[in-house]
């Protein structure tokens, strides 16, 4: 179990040591950044292996037992999130090594990148409510700074908007934590769940849930609260865009809300159908509104930002359907969308690196001069649309299957039908940037950037073809961890 504290100790160490030593040897920061993310990737695979056959691993900090001390609770859903984070952080670090040639003060980027990684890892493994808040703030503050990394007017404006919205969500979360602490006198998640069983369905219970859902919806950029994302994600450097869109909003918004809804509040579709219908409604609104808005975008990265909002709607839809297939689809969608959207943002970074242009109408003909980038884009786009055998197909299929089993045939038709809209806006990029002849001079992106993109393409193919083992060893245990509901309490507090 020693890898559990190392998940946060390693990137923290890198973050602190980079400012000290990067002045002595210039490439120190990228080298240690890449080594750290690679080691985290190995640890995440080890974590998936370690969780097989165990419902929960509990790591006690300073050897204090759970309701008193702080713990890491590592179940299959946490292992899955750590796996997704480490994939995208690893490819982003590879990509950033070359991409950052445009920027000054590179060590600051790497320090913030490591802190962001620490925060994401911490959120996915922590078993303590206030620690979760601290990790959320660490990763959020690092991301505000990274969005404004280019310090141009546009980036600063986007970062300010993002910071105001993010902190409104953060303070709402803090208010909810204060209320919970006042009521239950504990901050351990399992202990809170235990206390909530006595006040289930009271007014207090529902108002806390509303506060938390608001905070996490802002972080996840679901539609009524989405307007910061199309500014913030495109303004960041490409590896950060891919990290933010690929995994950041899912850890801060989707993972946290799923953990609270299923494990802490103990809600299921059977005992709270109205609440789950709200989730379906939010998801549907995001899919429809952001999907249609994306069709009219002209900026490469801004279009992908709207696409992210639309795709997060699918994840919420899957959670809202609430039966096994719906939740399994949502969990798989986190992985599928994470990899494919990270890949799409990396291709946008590679186009910006070579041409310095983001407006898709001024680009053209890059399909011949940049074949690796173009084919990476095509694979990512096909996975996002949901074409077999890529991994995106299975995620969408499971969500549709869940909807049909739950008796929402129209929901399955809308969800699958909006793949057509996804196809529409991605074809717009394909046509304008890669196919159309426009005489833009370009050469292929540097080697390391291509390696990062090809790594993600290979993952899309391998995970898609190896769907059966992925389902058995990763997705199904993660879904079971959510569907286990409030048995979570006994797994953490039971052994004491």
């Amino acid at each position: 179990m020693i890898f559990l504290p190392l998940l946060i100790a390693l990137p923290l160490f890198s973050a602190f040591v980079i400012p000290l030593l990067s002045k002595l040897w210039k490439p120190f920061a990228p080298v240690i950044g890449n080594i750290t993310t690679f080691v985290l990737f190995i640890f995440s695979l080890y974590g998936i292996a370690a969780i097989q056959g165990f419902p929960m691993l509990v790591y006690k900090f300073g050897n204090w037992p759970p309701p008193i001390g702080i713990i890491f609770s590592f179940d299959a859903f946490s292992a899955f999130m750590v796996f997704v984070i480490s994939i995208i952080v690893f490819s982003g670090a590879l990509f950033a090594t070359k991409y950052l040639n445009h920027y000054t003060g590179q060590w600051k980027f790497w320090t913030l990148y490591m802190l962001l990684t620490t925060g994401l890892m911490g959120i996915s493994v922590t078993g303590d409510l206030f620690n979760m808040f601290v990790w959320i703030e660490i990763s959020a503050i690092a991301s505000y700074a990274l969005v404004s990394f280019g310090i141009e007017a546009e980036e600063l404006e986007a970062s300010l908007k993002y910071m105001v919205m993010g902190e409104i969500a953060g303070m709402t979360l803090l208010l909810a934590i204060a209320l919970i602490y006042a009521k239950t006198s504990t901050l351990n998640l399992a202990d809170i769940a235990l206390s909530f069983q006595t006040i289930q369905y009271s007014k207090f219970y529902w108002s806390i849930l509303a506060l938390l859902l608001f905070a996490f919806s802002v972080k996840a950029a679901l539609v009524p609260f989405h307007f910061w994302l199309p500014d913030a994600h495109p303004a960041a450097p490409a590896p950060i865009s891919s990290l933010l869109s690929g995994v950041f909003i899912k850890v801060l918004g989707v993972y946290t809300s799923a953990r609270f809804i299923f494990n802490i509040f103990g809600l299921t579709r059977e005992n709270a159908p109205f609440f789950f219908n709200i989730l379906v409604g939010i998801g549907l609104l995001s899919i429809v509104y952001a999907g249609i808005t994306a069709l009219s975008q002209k900026d490469y990265k801004r279009l992908l930002g709207f696409s992210t909002i639309s795709q997060v709607g699918y994840i919420m839809l899957g959670l809202g359907i609430g039966n096994f297939y719906g939740i399994a689809g949502a969990v798989l969608y986190i992985l599928a969308h994470g990899i494919s959207k990270a890949l799409l943002f990396l291709t946008s970074g590679s186009v910006v690196y070579v041409t310095g242009e983001r407006n898709i109408e001024k680009l053209g003909g890059l399909g011949e001069s940049m074949p690796t980038t173009a084919w990476s884009f095509r694979f990512g786009a096909l996975s996002l649309i949901g074409l077999p055998p890529l991994i995106g197909f299975f995620a969408k299929f499971l969500i549709a299957l869940g909807a049909i089993k739950q008796g929402f045939l129209w929901l399955a038709i809308v969800a699958i039908g909006f793949s057509g809209v996804t196809l529409g806006y991605l074809l717009k990029i394909e046509n304008n940037v890669y196919l159309k002849k426009n005489g833009v001079e370009a050469k292929e992106a540097p080697f390391l950037m291509r390696v990062a993109m090809v790594f993600l393409v290979i993952l899309l193919l391998v995970l898609g073809i190896g769907y059966k083992p992925l389902m058995d060893f990763v997705i199904q245990p993660a879904t079971d961890a959510l569907l286990r509901g409030t048995e979570y309490i006994n797994l953490i507090l039971g052994g004491i």
Binding site: I2, P5, A9, P19, F61, G62, N63
Partner: protein, 146 residues
Amino acid sequence: MGGMSLIVRRITEIVCGFIFMYGLYIILHGHLTPGGGFAGGVIIAGSLILRVLAFGSGTESERMLSKRIPKLMSVGLLIFWGAAFTGLLMAGIFFLNAPIFGLGTPFHLLSAGLIPICNIGIGINVAAGLFSIFLAFAAVKYFMEE
């Protein structure tokens, strides 16, 4: 930017060192008396801020210090991280309070395991961090007046 009047500067010269020393006292006795790394760090940052207020920003000593702030913060955080990691090395438990000086004898400076070392790390980090926040505000005001 110009500083304040001669009286203020003179008093600052006398008082500043004592405030700094008081901050060190609070940090080092964090495990015995009220206070600790954060409170002591704030007091140390206060003494540095007082100097900048009295003598004006842009002095040679201030520039020397502000250049080293990122490194100072890293050192403070690495001390804290090292204290946490010692537990992992000694017993496989992160943040274990390893009994290097024994675990807590009242009124003894060298006691309470790794807590004093954690306090020193926090103190360095908080002092450097708060001072850098103040310098950032001072720099913004300076640019606005330009």
